[in-house]
Symmetry: C2
Subunit: 216 residues, 2 copies
Amino acid sequence: MMINKTQRSQLDSRYRAMLVNSLSGFKSANLLGTCNLDGHTNLAIISSVFHLGADPALVGFIMRPHTVQRDSLENILATGVYTLNHVNADIWQQSHQTSARYDANQSEFDEVGLTAHYLNECNAPFVKQSRIKYSVELQSSQELVNGTQLVIGEIIDIHVNEELIKPDGYIDIEAAQTVAISGLDGYHTTKQLGRLCYAKPNIDPQLLDDSHNDQA
Amino acid sequence: MMINKTQRSQLDSRYRAMLVNSLSGFKSANLLGTCNLDGHTNLAIISSVFHLGADPALVGFIMRPHTVQRDSLENILATGVYTLNHVNADIWQQSHQTSARYDANQSEFDEVGLTAHYLNECNAPFVKQSRIKYSVELQSSQELVNGTQLVIGEIIDIHVNEELIKPDGYIDIEAAQTVAISGLDGYHTTKQLGRLCYAKPNIDPQLLDDSHNDQA
């Protein structure tokens, strides 16, 4: 079926939000750890982190200032630092729960049962239960459209179990049980189809030697 | 283990790219369909599409102008329209192959074995083998950092099998076998853990009635 703009404008707003949020495809699942200048911690699940460069190592994400993410954005602007922590299959429900509208004086860490810990002099809190995490220094924050805010930062310290890093630098985020998000509320583990070699014209796609492929 | 900025600067550049590209988490997998003013088609896999709003329905993605994606960006700026097509488990290898450095006069559709088709007067080509796809009208294009380009557009027509849409508007992208990407070259199918209700303070996370949960 086809759904055009006119048809979408007539949909219930919650239905339309569900529909459109599903269209981008699978989303990354990260917990954003921040604190204010008094050290009061905040934790928010975000599904929009994206890669922006490897050298310097840059990541971006989208925030909606008029939502429960308001405290996180204020903390980032005040302190200039934050952490990103992969959501894994052991903590997906607690991670989702951070999106509840808690009061500013409540810490989502305590409310949902995740543990704040501090690594290598980074002022922002990491999530102890996360297996792949890194600190980020704010580089820029700009408004895009409809009040959405694009936050860009440089990756500082990466914390990851050495066994998850393959010989070529690829981190096996599936082995870490990192989850993917669909729509507004769907959580998924993954099953690797395979890794493919760098593509070249007129050479058929080739699996990397170390990748498994159940369809082979 | 911890990897800091100084250690990263000493890594081989390909290793560093693999490592940092893995950090954002799972990425969406989409084929970007464009054509130039003569109607010559172009198809490129991109892993950075992200949701920006439901009303108006906006999506953004990141391009690197100095790569094989150059033709796509030129086409978008020239015609103002493009298509986004979910990569699924039946076409993941052909989709990856679109990243090969083909000449400007070659169409990736022909080279990798995917079929261009045209729907509802949209000038840009869709991918016939994709099960969830939509046309997009360019809204803005801006440089971010290090030459990366942020392209924002408004979703026009959505083409999706009606059976994939749940009663609340959620599209079951897992049932469509949409894949997720890890790092630069990892492809994954998914297995849903569940969908969770809108989170509220002091109420434990609750599974939506219609979602399955193998861990329950």
